[in-house]
């Protein structure tokens, strides 16, 4: 509960409430003081609307409300200290070891409940040097205490997950609950919340005692008979005011002034029943009836409750006082209207006031002369000749609506760097290890040549014996199945992963491929369908790709597919040089029949295509079968960019392509989304294969889709190094170079072009035109220095450099360039620094 309160930005909400309530209540107070609010009705409407609007600022954020981010470091630092400061910790020190166990051990204990159970089937769990735990699909490091320790045996794993000395879960829980670690960790924000709750509760308690005292102060109340003159007068007033239910009328000898009580009761003092002028009695009763029909006692109780709970906002007290005063004025006006004699009401008011010798504490009731301070004003209002015309209902409704709407527009408060995501010690213990994303992917090693031929002729793989349910199930040490995800541990430096997502209509296909040396994994998910594969060690298939015929000793291969209805899985392990397989459907062992073989073939081909595994060997096989067209046909079924690039490289490395085949390959490579894959694939194609001019145009066209300036520069660099305007690719080169936004990348590219010794004057001029696109004076100056190297060999170089100096805005860069030019010309020792 307390977490919920704190996670909802409590302090920001409280700030919003304080700001909003101060604006609304303070605003009405000022308007009233400035006599802008003239009529009693308007003032009362404004006060009530202001109270309601103040409460509405506590509601969740609205679209109307703008967001105010407080960036003042003092304020945000204070707010952050409220979250992070542990004031009780200064008085109750806890040892670091105890703190670590109270947080980390609890998490570990809950994690370990499922972890060892999975291994009870005989699985030798992960054996990497640094133990890891799969937590919501991510790899998390264990607390420092676990590092370097031997992984516990299956039987003792659960026990050793607890802190030393705590052998059972009950002992552990008891220890955690009764240790004072949680007290130590209470933040200032929680303490403030607790203090608010305590003070608020104390205020409400005081209010309750006040009510009790008020009830006692009423003494014994006696109902007035219906034939009494006072009751008949009350009946007449109710009939005149069209009030169906006549309130109870009682009398008490303990009160000095008539009072309207919450349960539709009007209590009169004894003196009021002694002969009192008829008009005064009418006025007195009409005043109290007005309170009753206006439900003023209920309003007063609500305001008292609110003022007690929000004790930190004194304006609620002001609002309460003003609403009580305005209720009296309204009741006077109602009484004067229904008795048709303002003088009589004023006279009754005077009579009441004269009877009061001390202040009666009426907690919920509204006594006729409750606050003597406004008596004079009330009498003057009653007797005033020029009375203000009461505000219309439309005006009051408009005001109330405006104020309430304004409440929804009170800005939401947020503190920069505070209250967003408190980082606790617990989070530190479970810091997520982020998978590294090196660009280069390690190509799996597979047998080739004679070894491959031997594999093709290898005997059929035997199945597990019938009692295979008890056979040990493998877990690839670096490929871990967790929930619906298979991943290879990326904590090792040579691991690399590749992921892509393809959207088809409403469905998205997500593919994640990870390699770690000879180990790897693939996870393919779309809707409720999934394919997962993980392997340890190298493996190969037969020529028909229907069976694994080679698996590295100690290696394993697992494949699992799910389509929402059923789950099929196959596992291969080695046993003394023999490959053993087990096929299961919905967890039960099943014969590897023709249907299973078809399932395996289709899925293993899918894995080969998307992972690019053994691409060289596969391409070799396809080339033997149907030449380059067969490979290109196979590539049509591949969706992953990395695999497409791998197959393209293998194809161009192993055979020459016809013009038509080159075009077909370029078309396929043009579909790549990744700039890196496209660049490396095209670079490989352009450098390895003899590409006709028409096909090169297609490459340049496809290169326009490369967004990354770096990749574009890398693609163009080989052409820059031999740039010549006579070349047919020159215009395409210049056009693509101009599309580079990064001044740095453009300078790097053009410098490559200027390094060419064969550069013609025309080429130099064309490169200078592209160079003028550079906005950064620094980059431009560096490039002009490169142009200056051509001063002696190219006539146009001088004009290019001097024009460049004029184009620059920075005097500093101009000076740097002029000094460089001067040095280059004189070639003095000073020039070394240039």
């Amino acid at each position: 509960m307390i977490d919920f309160i704190l996670d909802t930005p409590l302090i920001a909400g409280l700030f919003r409430f304080l700001i909003g309530s101060t604006i609304f209540l303070g605003g009405v107070y000022l308007l009233e003081r400035a006599s802008i609010l003239k009529t009693v009705e308007t003032r009362e409407t404004c006060w009530r609307a202001a109270v309601l609007a103040s409460l509405l600022t506590l509601t969740p954020t609205t679209v109307l409300a703008p967001l105010w981010t407080i960036t003042n470091p003092d304020v945000t630092g204070f707010i952050q200290s409220l979250e992070q400061d542990r004031p009780l910790g200064r008085f109750m020190p806890v040892s670091e070891q105890q703190r670590t166990w109270t947080t980390a051990a609890y998490e570990t204990a809950t994690q370990s409940i499922s972890d060892p159970l999975e291994n009870t089937e005989g699985t030798p769990g992960p054996t990497s040097e640094e133990p890891t735990i799969q937590n919501r699909g991510t790899t998390a490091t264990l607390p420092a205490e676990y590092k370097g320790a031997q992984r516990p045996s299956q039987e003792t794993q659960l026990m050793t997950a607890y802190p030393p000395g705590l052998k059972t879960s009950s002992e552990f829980s008891t220890s955690v609950l009764f240790s004072h670690g949680w007290v130590h960790d209470i933040s200032s924000a929680v303490l403030i919340t607790a203090a608010w709750c305590l003070i608020g509760a104390a205020s409400l308690l005081l209010l309750a005692f006040g009510y009790r005292r008020a009830i006692r102060s009423l003494g014994t109340r006696t109902n007035i008979e219906t034939n009494h003159q006072a009751y008949q007068t009350l009946t007449a007033i109710c009939q005149k005011g069209r009030i169906r239910s006549i309130p109870n009328l009682s009398t008490s000898d303990r009160i000095k002034s008539p009072v309207c009580l919450p349960a539709r009761e009007i209590c009169l003092p004894e003196w009021a029943l002694n002969p009192l002028p008829e008009r005064e009695m009418q006025s007195l009763l009409a005043h109290e009836v007005a309170h009753m029909i206006r439900r003023d006692p209920v309003m007063l109780i609500c305001m008292q409750f609110l003022s007690s709970l929000c004790f930190f906002q004194p304006l609620f007290k002001v609002a309460q006082q003003r609403l009580v005063d305005l209720a009296e004025l309204s009741a006077d006006a109602w009484a004067a209207k229904h008795v048709s004699d303002a003088h009589a009401v004023a006279s009754a008011l005077y009579t009441c006031a004269s009877k009061i010798t001390k202040h009666d504490n009426q907690q919920w009731g509204l006594a006729m002369s409750g606050h003597k301070s406004i008596l004079k004003y009330r009498i003057e209002s009653l007797l005033a000749k020029n009375k203000t015309r009461p505000a219309s209902k439309i005006t009051r409704t408009g005001i109330a609506t405006g104020v309430v709407v304004a409440a929804f527009a009170v800005p939401n408060i947020q503190f920069a760097n505070a209250l967003s995501a408190p980082f606790t010690d617990k989070d530190k213990e479970w810091e997520v290890v982020v998978a590294p994303t090196p660009p280069e992917v390690v190509t799996p090693v597979a047998p080739t040549g004679a070894a491959l031929e031997a594999i093709v002729e290898a005997p059929m793989v035997p199945e597990f014996p019938a009692v295979s349910t008890s056979s040990p199930r493998f877990v690839v040490s670096n490929a871990v199945v967790s929930g619906n995800k298979i991943s290879v541990s990326a904590s090792e430096s040579n691991a690399s992963s590749y992921a892509y997502a393809i959207s088809e209509g409403d469905e998205t296909i997500e593919t994640n491929i990870t390699f770690n040396g000879n180990n790897g994994a693939l996870n393919w998910v779309t809707g409720n369908e999934s394919k997962k594969a993980a392997w340890k060690g190298s493996w190969s298939l037969n020529a028909d790709e229907t069976m694994i015929v080679f698996l590295e000793e100690g290696g394993a291969f697992g494949l699992e597919t799910e389509d929402g209805d059923s789950k099929q899985e196959i596992e291969f392990i080695t046993n003394n040089g023999t490959i053993i397989k087990e096929f299961r459907i919905d967890g039960k062992p099943h014969g590897f029949d023709a249907k299973a073989q078809e399932w395996f073939h289709s899925n293993i081909v899918f894995i080969l295509r998307e992972t690019g595994y053994n691409a060289k060997e596969r391409v070799s096989r396809f080339l033997k079968k149907g030449g380059a067209d067969a490979v290109l046909h196979e590539m049509e079924f591949i969706e992953g960019g990395w695999a497409i690039k791998t197959y393209a490289e293998a194809l161009t490395a192993q055979t020459s392509l016809s013009n038509k085949q080159v075009d077909r390959l370029i078309d396929k490579l043009s579909t790549l989304d990744s700039d890196y894959e496209m660049r490396t694939a095209f670079t490989n194609l352009l450098t390895k294969a003899d590409i006709p001019a028409k096909s090169r145009q297609k490459v340049w066209k496809a290169a326009e889709n490369i967004d990354s300036d770096y990749e574009l520069r890398m693609l163009l660099t080989p052409f820059a190094q031999s740039f010549d305007m006579q070349n047919k690719d020159a215009q395409n080169f210049l056009s693509l170079a101009q599309s580079i936004d990064s001044d740095y990348e453009l300078r790097q590219l053009l410098e490559e072009g200027l390094a060419s010794a064969e550069l013609s004057d025309r080429s130099l001029t064309e490169l200078a035109k592209v160079a003028s696109e550079i906005e950064s004076d620094y980059e431009y100056r560096k490039l002009l220095q490169a142009f200056a190297t051509k001063l002696t060999s190219h006539k146009s170089a001088m004009q290019i450099v001097l024009a460049g100096i004029d184009d620059m805005d920075s005097d500093f860069e101009r000076r740097q360039l002029i000094e460089a030019l001067e040095c280059r010309t004189r070639w003095t020792l000073k020039c070394i620094r240039h």
Binding site: F812, R814, L821, E822, T825, T828
Partner: protein, 68 residues
């Protein structure tokens, strides 16, 4: 005169330097060029004209001291 600029280059550099807004940068540039100034009257006058275009007395004095 192996360490002097040719007149065309010298004139171009002086021209570029005098287009600078910053007196400090202009004087620093002119001082750098001064070491390789061709020793003919035209070039010296060009340098003096450039010195005259410096707004700051302090910066101008730096160059004029060198010219003396």
């Amino acid at each position: 005169m192996p360490n002097t600029l040719d007149t065309e280059m010298y004139t171009a550099l002086i021209s570029a330097a005098t287009k600078m807004d910053s007196d400090f940068e202009m004087v620093s540039t002119l001082l750098a060029i001064y070491d390789s100034m061709p020793q003919d009257d035209t070039s010296k006058n060009l340098m003096k004209d450039a010195a005259d275009s410096i707004s700051s007395d302090f910066e101008r004095q730096k160059l004029l001291r060198k010219l003396q």
